[in-house]
């Protein structure tokens, strides 16, 4: 990250410290949210979300490991469409069941990645019935298939799945990033991701990935200390 942002050693060390402090705060905020605390949330681009919710077709929300995405689930609610979030399947069944119970009130359903591919049938049913499906698109999850893309000036691997799933049904896609802007404040940034549904499938997948990566770069450059991928991201 230091090389990618062109930081000197001191700035990199300070940013890493800030990064860890903010991550700690976000984790605490998450528990506070579960306990019922609400934050001041500014939504940038809510028209895009409202427009898609008003349509008959389902759509995809692509997320990244920035800020506190879980807050989007509480804020971008709709009575018309259920919000289905694909999540890591390694958590204890009791933890999943408790979170599921809390989310149910907000019309949120969690789909855990499962070795028997159960999650794919759930994703498919949700999209076929016009619901919202949220997919993390900056980390390989479930499938090893990947797309290599330039991210902040170096090659990185992004999952093939989310971009493929969206283009299978020519679905509309929005990128949703949630960043912390103050002690009790968050900002949700919603950006439509465009691609040419008339192009060959492989080309559609690449176009959509390029749009996602470009938006991710924009947000990471604005909030570099809220990027929470703690592993060797670049190849």
């Amino acid at each position: 990250m230091r090389q990618r942002q062109g930081y000197g050693r001191f700035k990199a060390a300070w940013s890493t410290y800030r990064n860890h402090c903010l991550f700690g705060q976000v984790v605490i905020d998450r528990f506070a949210m579960w306990a019922g605390k609400r934050f001041q949330v500014e939504v940038e681009g809510s028209d895009h979300f409202n427009n898609l919710v008003g349509k008959k077709e389902g759509f995809i929300q692509m997320s990244a490991h920035i800020g506190n995405y879980e807050l989007a689930g509480y804020t971008l609610c709709s009575d018309r469409k259920q919000f289905n979030a694909l999540v890591y399947g390694g958590e204890k069944p009791s933890v999943v069941a408790n979170r599921q119970k809390m989310f149910a009130a907000n019309n949120i359903n969690m789909i855990a990645v499962s070795p028997d591919m159960r999650h794919l049938f759930e994703i498919n049913s949700a999209l076929a019935t016009g619901q919202i499906v949220s997919l993390p698109a900056d980390r390989l999850l479930g499938s090893d298939k990947s797309i290599e893309a330039d991210f902040l000036g170096a090659k990185a691997l992004f999952p093939y799945g989310p971009f493929s799933i969206a283009t299978m049904r020519s679905l509309e896609v929005i990128a949703v990033n949630v960043v912390k802007t103050g002690t009790k404040k968050y900002k949700i940034i919603i950006t439509p991701l465009r691609y040419d549904t008339g192009a060959p499938r492989r080309e559609q997948v690449i176009q959509l990935n390029t749009a996602f990566v470009s938006e991710l770069e924009r947000v990471v450059k604005m909030y570099p200390t809220q990027w929470y991928n703690f592993y060797e991201f670049w190849k």
């Binding site: 591919m117 999650h119 794919l120 479930g142 093939y160 299978m168």
Partner: protein, 86 residues
Amino acid sequence: MEEIISQLKVKIIEALNLEEMTPESIDATTPLFGEEGLGLDSIDALEIIVLLEKNYGIRLANAAEGKKVFTNIESIARYVSEHRTK
């Protein structure tokens, strides 16, 4: 049944972008998943689910049933011939 198998082979090769394969090179009884078979993965499975819906009007919603259906191309063809709505 043979006709559906031939159709499925062509459609699966196209949808999954299996450029190195031809319909003739795929045995209808070869397992779709795992190293001993065609080596398809979960995203490919979803691709086939959508393919069956678009081409044959089949909505496969049950994972346990899906697992049996997706054993090989022959089992998919059998399911299509019994459940197709178009």
